[in-house]
Amino acid sequence: MNTQGRKTTPDIESAAATDVGTYTGNRALVHEEPLIFELDNPGVTGVDLEAVPAVASRLGGLKAREGIGLPGLSEPTVVRHYTRLSQKNLGIDSTMYPLGSCTMKHNPRLNEKLARLPGFGDIHPMQPQSTVQGALELIDQLAHWLKTLTGMPAVAMSPAAGAHGELCGLMAIRAALQARGEAGRTRVLVPESAHGTNPATAAFCGFTVDAIPAEANGRVSVEAVKAKLGPDVACIMLTNPNTCGLFEPQVKEIADAVHAAGGYFYCDGANYNAIVGRVRPADLGVDAMHINLHKTFSTPHGGGGPGSGPVVLSDALAPYAPLPYVVHGADGFRLVEHEGEVEGESKPFGRMKAFHGQMGMFVRALAYIMSHGADGLRQASSDAVLNANYLKARLQDLMSVPFDGYCMHEALFDDRFLKDTGVTTLDFAKAMIDEGFHPMTMYFPLVVHGAFLIEPTETESKTTLDQFIGAMRHLAGKAKAGDAAHFLAAPRYTPRRRLDETAAARKPVLRWTPPAA
């Protein structure tokens, strides 16, 4: 009972008080957190180890190391440190995170639980295969889903991420061309709107890159592709749906033209979430496509990885899939790890990774896929496309749309609506942060000016979308009304305000060093 006259409602004047600063620099729930090196208490440790048995050193005469410089911290200090760091981060758990091309959808916790079962999390990659039959079967089951969903006959499971999958696909293409005696095909066609990884991968794989211009409608035309085709073309790398959030209506004609000219069709599958269960890439003439399990199949992005990028392959490329891979043997599943164990048509181009692939991600992806089922996956892509079109429809009168018509899973706007306001796409994004949203992908794709690429995904509710739309309309109105100052000062409510990236690059400080004595 409140017997001491303690106020239970704030008085208006104190609530309106401005930021006066604090003694600690903390702001209630958000703490100023030093680096672990600044928390060092020499002699303290956060682990207790058993006593070291007294035996003679076997270091072959090497002197034992001393004075590494790692800080000493107890477990409570460590737990508090990382808890405080986490509070300076936004995740999909915190808010809508509509980063275009990144597919920031809900990460189901069941998948985390299952990946941690000792039968998956605590098995060694070099255990005898008789002791990991369940793991090999899981890889086989996931491969079956990926092949059936895409209509493709084969899948290489080991690539570690999307760009690694691109490399796998291009290496398979390279091997197939060599087998045909056409190693002189060294040119790779890449539309201007492509992700940066596409040209980087082609170059990393020893190909030269030839850009295909985008049409005024944001698509790639079969005529533009045909104009670039020739006997030296190895393949086209086409993203579909493309980075403007549009399905390429001439994709089949483009595939046919490339095939007729002796080339292959690599599809960047970063945007596969838009079409899972509705379109099978095999029906579009695709020869290879990576699937970002960390996008379409919801394995957590974790602040930038780990990813997983299995690559589905056509009959023409399947023989060149890299080692290792799982096959059905006489008495169970078998891992083919070496050239010497290869049978039949298989002519692996090599090895991409130390072990068999991102098993932890395979478990999560399969749990996601089984949870959705064939019906749920189709519903998910349908809802992802519906959500994006709803955003586009509700925002297009106030923001500027570079390409008319329906979009796929992401809505693209340009910065024409900000003309003469003094507000840039970047400024607008920072104001969205203050509204409690993670901004969209900005300045990509490069084919439109000041791009806003918004991918809501299927796991946002209509209520959340309506709130987001409200915030975007509010901000667009504010910009047009001439309140540039609001944007230039944003973000205001984050642990740090805008950071000086130029200074960081000019004089890079890439690690902590002890202060000079």
Binding site: P125, A202, S461, D500
Partner: protein, 447 residues
């Protein structure tokens, strides 16, 4: 469907706002022949948590967890104890479900731990600077060769016969398409190869693993001098990072690039992935480095903060002129690594290394006493044992007990009769005396 928030009424209302007659109409750009009208046949429908958990638990139960029996497997993946707090913190949604820190104001948590991670990696490797991680040790090794070629403007790399064959293969696959000349020395089970003799004026780098696949440890200082005398770089590969708590750092021995598999710290075995590649080098080479880098800066109020930096090396800016095509790194694995290493600290990390080394020495002594041949004089926590007969057959037989006796060399170097009786045996702090006695019994009981 529990993950999908829209109701049928929501969908209709949204379609009305869009002015579209149906969801199918939104897919109007899809060629009619390729647009499926029904869920794909032959695939199961959606299931509840209980059903999915039951199905996957059944698969998990068909595997033998390394922790459920005596296990001596290493060769690039090691079973260490990871403190409980690591996974508890890792699964905080603000870490788990965030993306690459493109908007630094709302990702200072990720950026600060990456900055701390880079510093820790630089410290343990004895190098100036480290990146924010690569896919794994093997891909980092391939990238190191490409980087050495860029730095030296040469095209020939020498690979030690003590290098893990998977690292060798990933490097050969990755660099082969670019026409890099690789001089690969034969498997070196006795630890006697002469790498310095393989260096010539065209050599961009020598890639040497320490400890080697077979467990040998070496002072690399003379090799570094031999490399530098010919204008080549020394690339040091570490597959067991715990060794860096006891052995002299690669940096102190003259390494120019250090790549390592970081799985041992903070990360479980996970049947081989996801893991994390560590990549460290000298300050003067930083602009030739692949991968993401986090750097310190200040915000508009002058407060210290962190951003991704030097991105002009990277694919999203440079496209075909980037130093690598890498985009995703191993963020969460790096977070687990940095949290575990923070818990260990100086005392814990050096203590853990000493414990691993001493236990391995203990097992080597027990095996020798039982008449089993241990090839190594020097080692860290893994060594090579010569068994009577075929090591792979023996390992398969013991797996039934279950006892995971180690990695037969023939699984990594197949088809070489002279290696068929060799077994790689690793020991960590998780190995008990009972485990050791079981192995001694299995390998030496007959003598």
């Amino acid at each position: 469907m529990r993950y999908l928030p829209l109701t049928e009424a929501d969908r209709q209302e949204m379609l009305a706002a869009i002015g579209a007659p149906s969801v199918d109409a939104l897919f109007g750009d899809v060629p009619a022949a390729a647009h499926l009208t029904q869920p794909i046949a032959g695939l199961a429908p959606h299931q509840g948590e209980l059903q999915v958990e039951r199905a996957l638990s059944r698969l998990a139960a068909r595997n033998v967890p390394a922790g459920s029996c005596p296990s001596f497997l290493g060769s690039g993946a090691y079973r260490h104890h990871v403190p409980a707090s690591v996974d508890q913190l890792l699964t905080r949604g603000e870490f788990l479900t965030s993306y690459t820190p493109y908007q630094p104001e709302v990702t200072q948590g990720t950026l600060q731990y990456l900055f701390e991670f880079q510093t820790q990696v630089a410290l343990i490797t004895g190098m100036d600077v480290a990146n924010a991680s690569m896919y794994d040790g093997a891909t980092a090794c391939a990238e190191a060769v490409l980087m050495a070629n860029r730095v030296t403007r040469r095209n020939r790399a020498v690979l030690s016969g003590g290098l893990h064959p998977h690292y060798r293969d990933v490097t050969a696959t990755t660099t082969g398409v670019l026409g890099v000349d690789l001089a690969t020395l034969p498997a070196d089970p006795k630890g006697i190869e002469d790498l310095a003799a393989a260096i010539d004026d065209k050599t961009s780098c020598v890639v040497v693993q320490n400890p080697t696949l077979f467990g040998y440890v070496a002072d690399l200082t003379p090799l570094a001098e031999a490399c530098h005398a010919k204008g080549a770089l020394l690339v040091v590969v570490v597959t067991e990072v715990v060794s860096l708590g006891l052995m002299p750092s690669p940096g102190s021995m003259g390494a120019d690039i250090v790549v390592a598999e970081g799985q041992s710290i903070g990360n479980g075995l996970n049947f081989g992935g996801p893991y994390l590649g560590l990549f460290a080098t000298r300050d003067k080479f930083v602009r030739q480095m692949p991968g993401r880098l986090c750097g310190e800066t200040v915000d508009a109020d002058g407060k210290r903060g962190f951003v991704l930096t030097l991105s002009t090396r990277e694919q999203h800016i440079r496209r075909e002129k980037a130093t690598s095509n890498i985009c995703t790194n191993s963020g969460l694995c790096a977070l687990a690594f940095t949290m575990h290493l923070s818990l260990l600290g100086e005392l814990g990390f050096t203590g853990l290394a000493r414990l691993n080394h001493a236990k391995a020495a203990q097992l080597a002594d027990k095996l020798a006493a039982a008449g089993v041949t241990v090839l190594n004089q020097g080692f860290f926590n893994e060594f090579t044992v010569q068994v009577s007969g075929d090591a792979a057959a023996l390992v398969d037989k013991l797996a039934a007990e279950p006892l995971l006796a180690g990695v037969p060399v023939s699984r990594l170097h197949p088809g070489q009769a002279d290696l068929a009786d060799l077994l790689l045996v690793a020991v960590t702090e998780t190995t008990t005396e009972d485990d050791m006695d079981a192995l001694v019994q299995a390998l030496g009981g007959k003598q």
